[in-house]
Amino acid sequence: MAEVMLGTATAEAVALAGEPAITPELVREHNLTVAEYERILELLGRVPTLTELGVFSALWSEHCSYKHSRPILRTFPTTGPQVVQGPGENAGVLRLPDGWAVAFKVESHNHPSAVEPYQGAATGVGGILRDVFTMGARPVALLNSLRFGPLDVPRNRYLFAGVVRGVGDYGNCVGIPTLGGEVAFAPGYTGNPLVNAMCVGLLRAGDLIRARAEGTGNVLLTVGARTGRDGIHGASFASEELSAASEARRPQVQVGDPFTEKLLLEASLELITSGLIVAIQDMGAAGLTSSSAEMAARGGVGVEIDTGLVPTRESGMTPYEILLSESQERMLVVAEPARVDEISAVCARWELTATPIGRVTDDGIFRVTHHGTVVAAIPGQRLVDDCPVYHPEARESEEVRARRTMAAPAVEIGPEEALARLLGTPNLASKRWVYEQYDSTVQAATVIAPGGDAGVIMVPGTEFGLAVTLDCNARLLALDPYEGGKAAVAEAARNIACTGARPLGITDCLNFGNPEKPEVFFQFREACRGISDACRAFGTPVTGGNVSFYNESPTGAIDPTPTIGMVGVLERAADRVGSHFAEPGDRICILGVTVGRLGGSAYWAELVDFVGGAPAPVDLEAERRLQELLVAAARDGLLRSAHDCSEGGLAVALAEAAMGASYAEHPLGAAADLTGYGDGIAPDALLFGEDGARAVVSLAEGALGALAELAARHGVPLFRAGAVGSAGGALSIVAGGRTLTWDTRHLRRTWLDAIPRRMRHADLDRTTGA
């Protein structure tokens, strides 16, 4: 390799004065392997310039190329009558009633959030918003899935507080309601917090625009913020030549500007709906490089960019820096030359500038010039498509295999204390402390706010509603990635169906450790197989998403965490069903079967610190029947509440429904008698087992017959468990011949206060401890 590298660049692209020579060290610092570099030499027929090396490094990174995941991602089901746009665009799009469509996507911003939680999370929200509005959709909901190490570690509290504030400040300012999501805590996330943000947008199906550069001679424009040295891949700066650079030239944290984002949102939608532009894409990861190269490759054209024309925030930026900058709130637009003035006028109205920086060419070359010098010239299609694809070895960890058959230590406390303690753990506690920092009612369309099974919004001017959720139980995946992958989709679908909505499709954010480790790749492959099988069974195709590998730090790797973002449609928004018991005296029913499997349960994990046993296998047919029953019952107006039964089992589901909604004045309590349901199951397994395909519903006594008939027709077992209590009433459950009783006011206080009491001084936690 050393010999080939001694040559100088051909006339097609020229190294700039003072640019370092391409050495094996420099190649390595760009995270390119020897084989990958050889492929670059073969592809170019010469040694790359530094700028070209940077471009390859960015586009052939895991983040842009999916080089370890692509073969697996291809196995996802991606088609269906509802699919308008599957994977491969900025966001997936599904058909809705009345000529509407929904664009949605989830993406990770894990590493930036570990470095700077506030800005990392804020810019994560900004990026996902742009992915959705560049499809021509107006963002109507945000969700986020957050994971941290345990809250007794000060650094974890600092990260949690900073991330929540960053998510909130950004979404609140742009004016997008945050409708739900999840927050979980487990040791593997210490040092590896996960910040996954999902955005859902609405569009008229006819306004859909794709990020495809077309039309030789068309102009490329940047719209929005200026380009600074934010988030530039650090590698090149480690080289000898640049190490003497000033402090200010070091790579910088990306700072979000939600105000500019809001202007960009309005300007972009105006540009799209007025038909002034051909294509638009966010300059996200790898900035101008990936947005221009990907748009060109999709359109099968070449592009030529003059980095000297790109408006910069600092002087003296090199083409390398301009191409790889990850400055936020920037768009790349393709338009006919005749439209440039009108585009500038729209942007000016929104206090933004649009600057022509290049053009679409017919030679298929990704070409970059800088004040007249060609600094990069790469066959564009091959730049995007020729990244090597890897098929890593997959092997299940012996340790995980053993943990599935390990016996749990005895839980020494009784079920009464167990439930109270579970509700006081951060994992099962109310997340009100989190979502009170998010505006959940802006846009005046929120039908079900955070705190329920799924968020629901109405679509003004129509009858229908949209349900959205983001879910994953990583503990199940840690023990059995295949069943856990199925369970994540099943839980998301149950949450959607509990509101009365029919699941439509998913987006996924696949967070894993290092895929080059066989144990990790096994988790990835099996989790994806589980997700695929569940999506096929439910008819909910995968419309896109994001893969985040290498979530490992010296303190360990994360649990496999593929978060599933799902959308569903409620034919009539008015049919929506809440999660909490609503009327004193209503009847309570349990839908589905309890076997009492405690493998991977919160009961064992939280009370005896045991993550083990085999998780309940997911019966996809039973899940589908339950979903259909819930949707039908809501449509017939039979239900007053429906709540998914998952983490913490039946006891937690009953308690949550009985404690009441986040702002209920009184918990209603409930009296449930499980005699005749799950007889022969040990009381703790009956109460806290985490079998799937179950829901706790309440309804008026008069509707009981109709629901029983409907359940029978759908093949879903229905058990009449008891009745809703009255204001301030107790929760009582008869299980195993014993009557267990809880004071719901006390439970509610424990449940509401569990997170705030741990977070009181979180701002002081930045530097205290690990």
Binding site: E116, Q119, D230, Q252, V253, Q254, V255, Q328
Partner: protein, 83 residues
């Protein structure tokens, strides 16, 4: 001895400063045409007991590093004034 510590925390050089940018635009809109490169930070003052100005300064520096400024996104300057 008691010292008055003046801390000035500013966004790190090179980092985007959305606040400064918005104020700059507003100033221009109000006709202050000569204003440019606006940056917005914050000032903190505190009373500090220490044996010497040097000790006060090093103590204040530790406060900045640990709490008052976020080293990832902010720079700080301090001034120690004897009372």
């Amino acid at each position: 001895m008691s010292y008055r510590v003046h801390v000035r925390v500013m966004p790190r050089t090179g980092l985007l400063d959305p606040q400064g940018q918005a104020v700059e635009h507003a100033l221009a809109a109000l006709g202050f045409a000569g204003a440019g490169d606006v940056r917005v930070g914050r000032a903190i003052e505190l009373e500090l007991a220490a044996d010497s100005p040097a000790e006060a300064e090093s103590e204040a520096r530790r406060m900045c590093e640990r709490l008052l400024a976020n080293p990832v996104t902010e720079d700080f300057e301090l001034e120690v004034e004897a009372r």
